[in-house]
Each structure stands twice: as C-alpha cells, then as structure tokens.
Amino acid sequence: MSLWVDKYRPTQLHKLDYHHALSSQLKRLVDSGDFPHLLFFGPSGAGKKTRIMCTLREMYGVGVERLRIENINIQTPSNKKIELTTINSNHHIEFNPSDAGIYDRVVVQEVLKNIAQMHTLDTGSQRGFKVVVLNEVDKLTREAQHSLRRTMEKYSSNCRLILCCNSTGKVISPIRSRCLGIRVPAPSHEEISRILHYVCKKEGVVLPTELSGRIAEMSRRNLRRALLMVEACRVQQHPMSPEQSIPLPDWEQYIKQTADLILMEQSPKQLLEVRSRVYELMAHVIPADVIMKYLLEELVKSCDGSMKAEVITAAAEFEHRIHLGSKPIFHIEAFVAKFMSMYKRFLEEGLGNLQDIEMDF
C-alpha cells in the first residue's frame, strides 16, 4: 500500500493538473528531439520532480518507469570509499550528489564520467544521449559546482543534465547560464484544494470544502505536504469533519514549542534548554536552515513592527553564516541568544511604559 502522494502522482505531461503552459512548453521541447541542460527550480512540493519524470516519460516512453536502485562505490583520491545510491532506468540515472558530503565533487565527476563514456549499444533507441538527473544542486559545495560546470561542457555530446534545486541563489552563475532554467511555482490554494478533492473522490472519501481550504492554507502551498495532511486527517478521523484539527508535522510542533520556550524566559539557562532541542531536531536530519526558518516564523509572530525588522535582519545574517561555517548549532544559538536579548529589552521597555502610564494616573 503506498501513500496517496505516490499513488496519484501524474506520470504524463498532459495529466498534470496545473501550470498547463509549462507542460505544453516541455512537450514542445521534447518534440523538438533534443534539448539543452535543464535547471528546474522552485519551492519544495511544487512538482519539480513530477515534471522531470513526466518529461522523461514523454521522451523515452514507459521504459523510464522501470526503476531500479543501485549502489555505486566510488573511491576518492584520498582512498576513501563512498557509497552512493542511484536510481536508474535504461535511459536515465538519478542521484543526489550532496549525500556524499564534502566528497560531492568526486562523486559528480566520477558518475558523470562513467555515464558519458558508456555509449549505448542499442542504436534503435530514440535518443542518442542519456539523461542524468541531479537533485539538490544548491546543496553542492562550490568546488563541486565548478567541476560540474566543466563536466557539463565536456560531455554535452552524449549526455544531458537535468538539475533540480529549490533556489538558484546558491547555484553559481556559470551553471545557471549553461542551463535552460525552468521555474516551477508553487500551486495556488485553489489548485491545491482542487487536487485534494480529486484525490479524495478517487479514494471514495468525502472531503469537506472547508477542510480542504484549511489544509491548502496550512500546507504553505506545498502539494506534497497537503496530500500527506489529507491522508493524515483521514487516518485520524474517518468521515472527515470540516472543523477537525489538521496534524502538523511533528518537528514543526516541536519547533513551535521551542519558540514558546524562548518567549517564556530569556536566560542562559533557557538557552541550554533550547540548545538541546535544536540538537534533537538536527539529530533527526531536519536541516539547520529549515529549523532557522520555522523558528523565525514563530518568533516573529510575537514581535512588534520595528523589532520585526531587527529580528529578521539578525536571522538573515545568521542563516548566511550557517552556510559559511561548519557548525550550524553555533549560529542558530547565536540567533536565539540575540533574539532573547532583543525580546527581553522589548519587554522591559514595555514594562517601563506601563509604569509611566500608571505614574500619570
């Protein structure tokens, strides 16, 4: 039994539910026979991966859907062995180079070289090139991105790259200029609730319109999350009611509680408490920048206008530092401490004002 997210994932371009203009563009691209390197970008849960797979399907036919998982072993120049999981079909290979951590450069080079040097014996196949799908290009180190740039040029004759990332901001510009950028925007609330209704209908479940609206809103326009939420609602309560609570991802709840802790007390002791919670989140592979983002969102809610700007500036700086440095916890903590001192000052001022008013009386 698979999840609804996977069960109802469209596999063909014409079955995609939204961004029809984009779909037809991709269709035309495929029909033209060849295509440049592609760079899909957009927020998570917008359907980048679905579109990539649909495009491949359009190009190579059902053969693309016969996937197998392979483990490749790569040896770095320093004799360290890296194991990497790839998903292959006869026509394409997909992997996540940032899994290799600091060795991503080696991985990118080696895998691409192997693929590009393997010429397809099957001359009957439609295309003369293979496709490599690279996920999370924005998580790659700078060195890896530069080596990727060179490899792209070198093997462009018999291999095409499809890169996938959330934001192009962290992709170096030489790569951006070598690719056709395709932006996949997040679906609107209406689109999401339409899809939710469609899925529920297929499943034979009644979805109250109110609930679907709320889910669409809470999902932050992330379709994958919205579908997961609906399914979670369904598991929670069988005939779904319009006012039932929508389960949040547990780590989000946890971050919420953490933010409450910060607002409750501003002291070094509380910082220790927060630290242990951040550690826990990180130990469960929640990325540091995600923690930062959600924490900020929660904290900003209880700030007034001028302080909001200050807090967000601080957050932006420390988020940037997370990427520069090697120990994310330092920066998250520095942000929390900074917020605590700002908030404390804010509270004290508020208290002072109150006292002034009382004095006036």
């Binding site: 698979s2 598991v235 592979v285 090697s326 903590e333």
Partner: protein, 597 residues
C-alpha cells in the same frame, strides 16, 4: 656518591620529583607537569582531613630506589641506558635520548638513579603554564608576559650548555624570563660535570607542529653540550602526538638513541608492593596485593598510590583486622573494585596519551570562560575610551588570552566545541551571552575560511573565540566550575546514523524518492501515516527506529545503525581529576547523559 653528597642528594632528589607539591609558592606554576597519578592522589587527599595527610609522604617518593640494584623490571633496557649514559660521558658532542614506555614503568626513575650514579647533574624542563605574570600589583613595571613556549624551550636547551646556572643569569636575567626549571643547583659540583637535561613535558607548540622539533633539535645539535633525554609515554596509536613527533626519520636524522621500556612485570610489582606493605603494616595482605596488581596493570606508580590510599584509608581498621578479618576483606574488596574502576583504562584515544593533557586543556577552557581580571590600580586607570566605546572598558586580564589556546592540546575545532558546550552555564546575563555567542559564530566562519585563504591563519578562529568570550563575559558565575565535554561529535554521529537510516528507508519504500531530507521533513513526520508505509517488516523496523514523534533526544533505539558514541567521550573524563588553581578548581564531571538534558 661522595660522602658529602649524601644528604645533599637526598634533598635534591626530593626537590626533583616533588617540586610541585612542595609548599614553596614559587613552584606553583609547575602544576601543569604534575603527574596525573599525583592528582589522583590529591583527589583522595582532599576527601580526607587535610592536616594529617600533608604529613604523610608520597610513597612513590618514600620508596623510590636509590641505587640501580633496586630498580625493578626492564633489566635489559636499564643496562642499555647505563651503557648509553656512560658513552655520552666519554664524548664531548651532544647526545640525545628518546626514552619511551607505558606510564609508571620506571623510565624517569631509572634515568634519575643512573644519572646520579654516574654523577651527572639532572636538570628538568617544566613547561611554563602559559601565563606566569608578575604577581605584585604595586610594582610599576608593566606586566611582562612570557615569551612563547618555544622560545623558552630553546633558551632552556641552549643555556644549559653552560655548566652552571649562575652563568646563564649573566646573559639572561632570570626575572625577565618567567619560567622555571626545577634545577638542581649543586655548588659543590665541579664545573665540568655533564648535565642530563630531561624533557618530560614537551611544549604544546611543538606537539602541534612537529616540524618545529627538527628546528629545535638542530639548534641543540650545534650548540648543546650535554645529554638531552626525552621521556615520553608510549602508546601505539598512530594519532598519538608523540608517536608522530619522534618519527623514524627524526630519530635517524639526529642519531637519537631510542630505548623503549616495557610495563613492569607482575613478579617485580608484587616484590615491590609486598616490600612496601611489609614495611608499613608489618604484614602482607595477599588479597590486597592481588587487587592492587590487577588494578594497576604494570604501572608501578599507580600501584603504590593505590596502596597508599587504601592502607591509609583503613589504618584504623588495620588494628582490628586481625580480629575481624572477614569484615575487612569485604571492605578490601569493595574498595579495590571501586579503585579499579578509577584506574583510567589505558588511555586510548585522540590526544590523551599523557594523562594530564586533558586537564591542562580544561584549564585553558576554564581560563577563557572564567576570565580573571586584575583589579584597577588606582594610579593608572587607563586612558578612558571615547564615550561611545566606554562599555568596552574592562580590567586588564591576568592571562594573555591568545596564550590560552596555546596551552591546550585541543585542536581548534575541539576547543571551540568545548567553549560552546560550556558557555551558557558560565554566563548569567543574556545580553553578554548574546555577544559571546556572536563571537563564537564568527570564529566558526573563520575556520573554513582559513583553509581557503592563506592570509587567515588557522589559529585565528580559536583566538577570536577566546578573546571574544573573555571580553564579553564580565560577570563571573562564582560557584560554577564544572566543564562538560562537548557532545558535538556524538550529535554528528547521530545525524549520520539517522541519515543512513533514512536512506535505507528510502530504498525500502521503493519509491523514487532518495532525498532523505525530504523524507525527514515531510513523509516521516506524519506518524499517523506510518502504518500505511509498512510494506515490509524491515521497513517497519527502520521506521520505528527513526520515530521522531517520541521526542527522545538521541534515543538509544538505534541499535545497529547508529555508530557507538565515540570513545572520545572517555578522553577527558579518565578520572575525576581535580586540581586546585588558586581559588578555582575544575571538576571534570562525567559527560552529561542525554536523559538529563
């Protein structure tokens, strides 16, 4: 020995081993070189009523052998050593010796005994504990800080080419150099006596950059005249700094003689222990003997200290023990087992081949977090800062903050982790803590930068951290002196363990989703849905391993997938060491268990 020398030597040797424990205040800075066994003893001592113990002498010293015939174990090596020293005496050129072996096997003792028998002057190098400053405040002299350790070390080596200490003082006034050798002055000794320079405690600077060693040795080779002996605890870890330092090439290049001692064998140990026991209690307690033997694994010094502690602890009982033997044996057992658990398992990991290294590192951390400042002197309040900077005014630090990192053996990464781990507990004001955290965060950015940009030296980041933190924390927590070890590495291991777990889950779910982060943030965070995911038992197992929703910080439910907590955690916590540092004592606690968080 000549007849006159007898009482003199007695005194000298006393000084020799025990300069740190002597009541002389001047030798205080030497506590860095104190052997951890002595520290261990100190712990025990501090548990007891003090005055009594101070009267008692350390048994290691009391029963130390006076002649080569009394030396136990390592017959062949001692013979070699004897030959070597004799050979050195016969020639004028400088000679260098590398003496290695497990702790407590009698390396230094053998060296001392043989050196004395061959009538050499023994001079020992003590690494200055980074910061020795002029203590009297009234003096108008500006505070002079010590030279870098390296410089001092070089001076030590060169100056001793003169046969007497007084001559060196003509060239370099000892007051200018605030370091001390526990030099054994002997006025009666003729000028041409050879000296035996003993280096047990190699300066950290050299440990960190082994290339400096060559430089130093080259210097000694050209300008030295005496016998230089490095006494180094051995371990067979490749990560051991000493092992790296005395590489085969180095030994070859400078023609360094290398003698390796073995741990003392059991017969030798029991011989000594029973002799001591006989002398102290007039009887030999076989049970205790066995326990001590088992606990000390060939470490004679540890054995004697254990014995001392035990016997001292139960001196009152020992009168009764003939009557009430059963009770005693019970007690012995209890005690001995508790002792054997004290015995630091032969230190394995990273930097701890010398037992007291972690301690000096912890001192460094403590110095940063608990920066001691000099009170204002009324005469010279420094030129006040402009008004917009006035909040940065601080009293002068007692230590040069950039020297602090030098004294620790920690890598800069570990140093930062240590600071980070302990920072919040040392601060009471959130505003100060904010500034300190900001400095930490900055120093973290610097460390990867320094690997890329050559103009940022790698020690820059710990410097920024230590200076920044000691600057920003003004209000000291007076009662808090515990230092916890960082759990950074464990977290990292947990992350990677969880990552591989997630990758495996992704593989098992057989979807085309390899992105483990997405799995963590989206899919697996809906625990309500997890039952739907269970295609296979294996997957069920995996998912139940991941269980975020139980909210147990780094759960122990990761039986096979999570790497065992690194043995690093045992490094700094080998034993409850304690050391009195004027008003400050650092108690090394066991690492926090995660449940306590």
């Amino acid at each position: 020995m000549i007849g006159v020398g007898q009482p003199l030597r007695r005194k000298r040797t006393l000084e020799w081993i025990d300069s740190d424990l002597s009541p002389d205040e001047d030798s205080k800075p030497a506590d860095n070189s104190m052997d951890s066994d002595l520290e261990l003893l100190n712990v025990f001592k501090s548990n007891e009523t003090k005055p009594e113990i101070i009267e008692m002498k350390d048994w290691c010293e009391e029963f130390k052998p006076e002649s080569s015939s009394e030396l136990v174990g390592n017959k062949k090596q001692i013979n070699d050593l004897n030959k070597f020293l004799k050979y050195c005496l016969s020639r004028a050129a400088p000679s260098i010796l590398h003496l290695s072996g497990p702790p407590g096997c009698g390396k230094s003792t053998a060296l001392r005994v043989l050196g004395n028998e061959l009538e050499m002057d023994l001079v020992e190098w003590n690494s200055p504990t980074a910061v020795v400053t002029n203590t009297d405040i009234d003096e108008d002299d500006p505070i002079t800080y010590t030279e870098g350790q390296l410089k001092t070390f070089q001076l030590f080596l060169i100056n001793n080419k003169y046969s007497s200490y007084s001559e060196t003082s003509l060239e370099l006034h000892p007051d200018e150099l605030h370091f001390k050798f526990s030099i054994t002055k002997s006025h009666t000794a003729p000028r041409d006596r050879k000296k035996l320079l003993i280096v047990k405690d190699i300066p950290n600077v050299i440990l960190r950059t082994p290339s400096l060693m060559q430089e130093v040795l080259r210097l000694y080779h050209t300008r030295g005249r005496h016998v230089l002996a490095f006494v180094v605890p051995s371990s067979h870890e490749s990560s051991d700094p000493y092992w790296k330092l005395f590489s085969r090439e180095l030994l070859g290049e400078f023609g360094i003689a290398s003698i390796c001692f073995n741990a003392v064998h059991n017969t030798g140990m029991s011989k000594v222990i029973s002799r001591v026991m006989l002398q102290k209690t007039n009887r030999v307690d076989d049970l205790l003997l066995d326990e001590v033997l088992a606990a000390s694994t060939g470490d004679l010094r540890f054995a004697l200290n254990t014995l001392h502690f035990y016997l001292f602890n139960s001196t009152n009982l020992s009168c009764i023990n003939i009557l009430n033997k059963k009770k005693l044996t019970k007690r012995v057992k209890k005690n001995a087992t508790s002792l054997s658990s004290y015995k630091p398992v032969p230190p394995v990991p990273v930097y701890s081949s010398i037992k007291n290294h972690p301690l000096s590192s912890l001192h460094a951390i403590g110095k940063v977090l608990h920066a001691k400042r000099k009170p204002w002197r009324s005469k010279d309040v420094p030129a006040s800062l402009p008004s917009h900077l006035s909040h940065h005014t601080r009293e002068e630090l007692q230590y040069q903050p950039d020297h602090v990192f030098e004294t620790s053996t920690l890598s800069s990464d570990l140093f930062l982790s240590f600071l980070h781990c302990n920072l919040p507990e040392y601060s009471i004001d959130i505003n100060e803590l904010t500034i300190a955290c900001n400095y930490l965060s900055q120093s973290d950015i610097l460390s990867p930068l320094s690997s890329r940009l050559h103009y940022i030296p790698s020690h820059y980041s710990p410097y920024v951290a230590s200076i920044g933190i000691s600057h920003s924390l003004t209000q000291c927590v007076s009662s808090k002196f515990t230092i916890n070890g960082p759990i950074d590495r464990q977290i990292r291991e947990n992350i990677s363990g969880n990552q591989s777990l997630l990758i495996e889950i992704a593989r098992e779910t057989n979807q085309y989703e390899t992105n483990h982060i997405r799995l963590a943030t989206d899919l697996l965070s809906y625990h309500q849905l997890l039952p739907n995911l269970h295609n296979s038992n294996r997957l069920q197992q995996l998912v139940s391993c991941y269980k975020l929703h139980e909210r147990r910080f780094i759960s122990r439910d990761f039986p096979s997938l999570i790497a065992q907590p690194s043995n690093f955690s045992t490094v700094n916590v080998t034993s409850p060491n304690s050391s009195e540092e004027e008003d400050q004592s650092l108690i090394v606690e066991d690492f926090p268990e995660y449940e306590n968080w």
